[in-house]
């Protein structure tokens, strides 16, 4: 804009300009008043929007909380196990949204057994739809290796999608902070919370694996894949974190796949010679009990795994799996 000087500078123009200048002055003053901060920065606030995972368990039925099924074929063995606990209909109701949390930690092919078996994941998803009449099945994990590669190479991505499930990769926006009431480690820590929103049922699926630090990686350790942030610092106190994870996640049921057990070089494996065939699948509403039995597949006893005792003390389940009177089933090969 250009203005031209004039000997008879009109009063009107002067007033208009004065009014604009006044508006700018009051604007500057108002901004200073509104933004005025008398205290300066303070240490980061501890108060944060915290989330809590709801309880996804279903009412207990005596004698129908755990099944140990043996058989060479995962699909048939799982079917047998879930049926002997009342069928998937007992757990998944019409219109439910089900979240499956398989172990998809590593970008390795399914034959190495470092990740949940894709056919087993697909079978669970399929049953949720076909007999549980689920509305939606979500599969998610915060993998250790690159998540997209893990879902692809483990075969879980393709198998789950074919079964109609939806894969949710751990995008940064899906994480929210949580604090476990009574926990000492899970305090204001980010977890993969987004997939749990609007979810009615949660199923954990994981293979039995050797784990050098904690002794064994099974259904409780599987929830490690929900932690975000630099979660590896928890390895300093591995037993407590696994116990707290079991206290944090109350699943509908867990599937512990001991069809093939990783006996050595866990939890990554890397060779078929690390695996031993034990032809067992445990389906349980009590993850502590499932893992207590699972320990025996690794030639361990529950007392070898301190996190089991801690989880029991924290109320996550019982290490005395026999007290649940598990159903023993067998599928001929």
């Amino acid at each position: 804009m250009t203005e031209q000087g004039n000997e008879n500078f009109p009063r009107r123009a002067f007033l208009a300009r004065a009014a604009k200048a006044g508006a700018c002055v009051s604007g500057a003053c108002a901004a200073a008043y509104l933004l005025y901060d008398s205290k300066g920065p303070v240490p980061a606030s501890k108060k944060q929007q915290l989330v809590t995972l709801p309880d996804f368990s279903v009412p207990a039925e005596p004698g129908r909380s755990m099944c140990i099924a043996t058989g060479p074929d995962r699909k048939q063995t799982f079917n047998k196990a879930i049926d002997s606990l009342g069928g998937i209909e007992r757990f998944v109701k019409t219109g439910d949204t089900v979240l499956i949390k398989p172990n998809v930690a590593f970008a390795t092919p399914p034959m190495l057994g470092a990740t949940a078996n894709p056919q087993l994941v697909a079978q669970v998803a399929r049953l949720c739809y076909s007999r549980g009449n689920a509305k939606r099945v979500i599969v998610t994990d915060n993998s250790i290796n690159d998540p997209a590669s893990c879902f692809q190479l483990s075969g879980i991505g393709t198998a789950a999608r074919q079964a109609g499930a939806e894969i949710l990769l751990p995008k940064p926006t899906l994480f929210a902070h949580t604090t476990l009431s009574g926990g000492e480690l899970i305090r204001n820590w980010p977890i993969l919370y987004g997939p749990f929103e609007k979810v009615d049922k949660v199923i954990g699926i994981t293979p039995v694996k050797d784990h050098h630090r904690s002794g064994a990686s099974m259904t409780m350790k599987n929830w490690y894949g929900l932690l975000g942030g630099r979660r590896n610092i928890f390895h300093q106190n591995i037993n407590t974190i696994i116990a707290e994870l079991a206290m944090m996640v109350r699943p509908t049921f867990v599937v512990l796949d001991g069809t093939q057990v990783m006996m050595t070089n866990g939890p990554t494996g890397g060779s078929v010679s690390d695996l031993r065939r034990t032809n067992t699948i445990i389906v349980s509403t009590d993850q502590v009990a499932a893992d207590s039995f699972g320990a025996t597949l690794l030639d361990l006893t529950p007392s070898d795994l301190p996190y089991l005792r801690k989880a029991q003390a924290g109320g996550a389940g019982t290490t005395d799996y026999k007290s649940l009177k598990p159903v023993i089933a067998e599928v001929a090969g």
Binding site: D146, A148, S149, P170, H212, H235, I238, T268
Partner: protein, 582 residues
């Protein structure tokens, strides 16, 4: 349809295809991901890539044969590539159009005048080609990619613009991607673009070494722009939008003409045509390369190599943090081929591959290097993507069997890209007596290259005297323990060398023991006991480690990692090996 409309459509088409190929350079099986899309097409069509690698390696790598198409067409028809195909040229033309469209005719004529400085691009070309062909001591390198428009724009889109856009939308990559030093890449890109506001197609006219090469190739073009009659009103309208500043109104500089055909379109009297006959107003066929400039750029190109190599980065002062992806050739050979196009960096599924800065040597700028602090997890064991996408085989295509040393490669063993070293002054179990071994757990090899040694160390203030024993509970004289601290399952109570029992809980002056060790039965009042922590201390088995860096990526000491990979022992440079052959 007007011929310039056809040209614009061609530019839009090739630019779109180019961007599309950048987007699909993403690992995955969806239709918009890398699954056979010819994502290197433009790099292959680029004759500067082919000629540069021929000079440095004396070979024409098979896929680069595509450049022959461009060469032949340029020899016959002139610089059509600049005006019709080049995605960077299209961008320049568009920005130049935006910036200059409102300028008056006289100003535009002045902007589109031929300038003496347009010869600079030939000297840039000669400088780069001379250094690629240095005959001494196998010292040649390939640096054309710094300014060659195709690698430049590929790198700029791949490593800066796409990740910026995708960080807002999150469609291409699930997790945000990072590229160290990317702002320098972006700076060069935008500097080149903004120069169009000064003079249209500034980069093409003054700097572009590919344009210079094509200009030289078009010396004998069968068809060229020129006047078909000497009856010309000399209105100069043909130079109003001349992209190459080749002055078609007077003696046309054939080498500068990018075949934008704006002159053809703006001539009211159809004086100008694309014809076999030389222009009736005369033409200048040779690029303006002065003898002095030629010798100067040639010798500086030749001397630049030994000058930069004075830093010794290819000799004893080799940069040990320069970890190249598996399949990368030996460093000297690698530098003869790498275009710095960033395709490998873009395709890397874990984002561990990064453009190098000059700390690895001037000549390594923007070449691929692993940075295990960035990305989702080191170099993924079952992945060879970068080796397949590399347009010049600087990273040669390797199979998974070769990478892992399986089958016929069992004797050669796996390809090592470096070796991990435990920093015992930072490692939690080594330096701080805290249990950890995340590195061991994540080592993807079987058997693992990281193994552990079990140690029981007495904790600080952990020597105590027994005051009272009741069942499994031992009370101590001292009241100094932090309640619950030793209840993690990693702490033990020891009496003497070999007698030890796990602690299940503790108060400030008592500990509770696990039942099965029967240690309490051997103790008496006043005996000394020690609280010990069970540690598994990691060791790297140097004969197994391949340097993938997963351990370094996962190490919970997140600043300077307590286990770090250095390039020592990498397969590609046998002189850098540590171990004797066994």
């Amino acid at each position: 349809m007007k011929i310039v409309t056809v040209r614009r459509l061609s530019q839009v088409f090739f630019f779109t295809v180019f961007i599309w190929f950048c987007i699909v350079t993403t690992q995955g099986t969806r239709w918009w991901q890398l699954r056979g899309w010819p994502v290197n097409l433009f790099l292959r069509l680029d004759p500067l890539v082919a000629i540069g690698t021929i000079l440095s390696t004396h070979r024409l790598y098979a896929p680069l044969l595509w450049a022959l198409v461009t060469v032949v067409l340029t020899i016959l028809f002139g610089r059509f590539f600049c005006g019709w195909v080049c995605p960077f040229g299209a961008l320049h033309q568009f920005v130049g159009f935006l910036g200059n469209r409102k300028k008056p005719l006289a100003k535009r004529l002045q902007l589109n005048k031929y300038r003496k400085a347009q010869c600079i691009k030939y000297f840039v070309l000669i400088f780069f080609l001379a250094s690629a062909a240095v005959p001494m001591l196998g010292w040649a390198w390939l640096q054309t990619g710094l300014l060659d428009p195709i690698p430049l724009v590929t790198r700029s889109i791949n490593l800066t613009l796409l990740p910026i856009v995708d960080s807002l939308t999150g469609t291409i990559s699930a997790t945000p991607r990072y590229y160290q030093g990317a702002c320098l890449v972006l700076g060069l890109f935008f500097a080149a673009l903004f120069l169009n506001l000064l003079i249209p197609r500034f980069y093409c006219r003054f700097i572009c070494p590919l344009g210079a090469l094509l200009a030289i190739l078009s010396r004998f073009a069968i068809w060229r722009i020129g006047k078909n009659t000497s009856e010309c009103s000399n209105c100069k309208l043909c130079e109003k939008a001349c992209e190459g500043a080749c002055e078609p109104a007077s003696q046309i500089k054939i080498s500068e003409c990018v075949l934008c055909l704006n002159c053809l379109d703006s001539c009211k009297d159809n004086v100008i045509s694309y014809q076999p006959m030389p222009s009736l107003a005369g033409e200048v066929t040779n690029p303006d390369i002065s003898r002095r400039g030629f010798i100067l750029s040639l010798t500086s190109g030749v001397f630049a190599v030994p000058a930069v190599r004075l830093a010794g980065k290819l000799a004893d002062n080799w940069p040990h943090k320069l970890i190249r992806p598996p399949g990368a050739l030996s460093e000297a050979e690698f530098l003869k081929r790498c275009l710095k196009c960033g395709q490998c960096i873009r395709i890397c599924p874990t984002n561990v591959l990064q453009p190098a800065g000059i700390e690895f040597g001037m000549e390594a700028l923007w070449t691929p290097v692993l940075n295990n602090r960035i990305g989702t997890s080191g170099c993924q064991l079952n992945c060879t993507a970068c080796s397949y996408v590399c347009p010049t085989a600087a990273i040669r295509p390797i199979t998974l069997s070769e990478k892992l040393g399986l089958g016929e490669f069992a004797e050669a063993g796996p390809i090592r890209i470096g070796t991990a070293f435990v920093d015992r002054s930072r490692c939690l179990p080594w330096a701080m007596d805290k249990p950890c071994i995340v590195c061991q757990e994540n080592c993807p090899l079987s058997p693992k290259a990281i193994y552990t040694e079990e140690v029981f160390n007495t904790v600080r203030d952990g020597s105590l005297a027994v005051k009272k024993i009741s069942a499994l509970k031992i009370e101590t004289v001292e009241k100094i323990m932090q309640p619950g601290k030793f209840a993690t399952g990693d702490y033990y109570c020891a009496a003497g060398e070999s007698k030890r029992a796990k602690i299940t809980s503790n108060t400030e002056n008592s500990i509770e023991l696990a039942p099965n060790a029967a240690l309490e039965k051997t103790l008496g009042i006043g005996d000394k006991i020690e609280v010990q922590v069970r540690l598994q201390r990691p060791h790297v088995d140097i004969e197994k480690c391949i340097g993938c860096g997963v351990c370094q990526h996962e190490c919970p000491v997140s600043g300077k990692r307590a286990i770090r990979v250095s390039a020592d022992g990498e397969t590609r440079n046998p002189e850098r090996k540590i171990l004797l052959d066994t």
